[in-house]
Amino acid sequence: MSSLHISISAEPVAHVGSFVLTNSILTSLIVSTILIGFAMVAKMSLRSKGKPSRFQAFIELIVEGFRNLVRGIVESDHKVERFTPIIMAFFLFILVNNWFGLLPGVGTIGFLEGSEPKISGIQQVNASEPKADQGTENVASSENSEAPKFVPYLRAGTADLNTTIALALISVVLTQVYGFSAQKFSYFSKFINFSSPMNFAVGLLETVLEFAKIMSFAFRLFGNVFAGEVLLAVMMFLVPVIIPMPFYGMEIFVGFIQALVFSMLSLVFFNMATIGHHDEH
């Protein structure tokens, strides 16, 4: 197949009742299965007596690393125990999703949707005209409008805006939950404060900021991962050998950094939410 396939949104690969199973959801499910399987294997391999195995040492390194990372920011044992699992889950879920998108076959193995294929390579890059049914923009176009469309079976989970929005929503909602549980109703004085006009305005800005966080989280992650996929796809299309390798290395690094950024920002927001205005000073 000599065409360049780029789609800004995830494409459906199956239908379960009315639910559309997209390739990014399929990837996310695989990633989730891998993570759950890893966690189960980890639990089974734990030995409290004798010399720990290398795998156990690796698991301990991960968990202890996360605890120390969180402890370095929140400095309270109670908060460490509370925040570490969710931060670890964010990091691992995003990291494995990001890296899964770099595996051979992901985004390149799929099926042709539609009638007989008459693909003749790159014709245009049309990102401004999403298709109404699936919201896809194929750089590879066909000579006629009824050309079959290539749909990969798998696509990085984080290269789908729905996934990143879901993660952002979880992060922001948890921020409010932690803030409320730590400060009770005084937490909301951050948003609704009638003590002075300035504080009221600041409260409104804080409210807007919470929604902006969702957008920021979601689009940052999605943008970086999707941009990486586009970059790799273009490089692979132009020079299929050797040249894409440094970009793969860079995308591995970007995938790690994005997972770390998302996790660390969430952690900082969680921590800030649990600290009152007076505590901040």
Partner: protein, 161 residues
């Protein structure tokens, strides 16, 4: 870009399941094990410190007992030396006394022997004198004759004087 609520909800549930699994299967058991291990290390450290402290106490007690024993041993040694010196002195004195007694005894025996020998010699001499006198006088001289001879000689000596 399709933003679909059902897919967002699905991903939220999906992530929730992953979060739950990671917490239940990975985080909690590992943290529990790490905490237990840390507790074991702390306990072992405490026990080690306790053992070290006990050892130090034992060492102190040992050195204290040793010095006390050395002191007592010194005392006993001194006493023993004194006793030995006294005993030695006594033995020496006893030996000296014995030697003296032996010497006295020997001297006495010797004196007796000497006296006996002197008497014997005197006897022999007297006998010799008798013999010579008999030879000179040409007759047997007995004790009475001898005494008379002596008296006679003494009388002549007195006349001469």
């Amino acid at each position: 870009m399709d933003i679909k609520l059902d897919q967002i909800l699905f991903q939220i549930v999906n992530f929730g399941v992953v979060f739950g699994a990671l917490t239940y299967f990975l985080y909690k058991p590992v943290v529990k094990m790490l905490d237990e291990r840390a507790k074991k290390v702390v306990d072992a450290e405490k026990a080690s410190n306790e053992a070290l402290r006990e050892r130090e106490e034992a060492e102190t007690l040992k050195s204290k007992t040793k010095s006390q024993a050395e002191k007592e041993a010194g005392k006993y040694l001194e006493k023993a030396k004194e006793q030995a010196a006294t005993y030695k002195k006594e033995l020496m004195q006893e030996a000296k006394d014995e030697v003296k007694a032996e010497r006295d005894k020997a001297m006495k025996a010797w004196e007796t022997e000497k006296a006996s020998m002197a008497r014997e010699m005197q006897k022999e001499f007297t006998l010799g004198v008798y013999t010579v006198a008999e030879k000179l006088l040409g007759k047997a001289v007995d004790k009475k004759a001898h005494a008379d001879l002596i008296d006679k000689s003494l009388k002549e000596l007195a006349k001469a004087l």
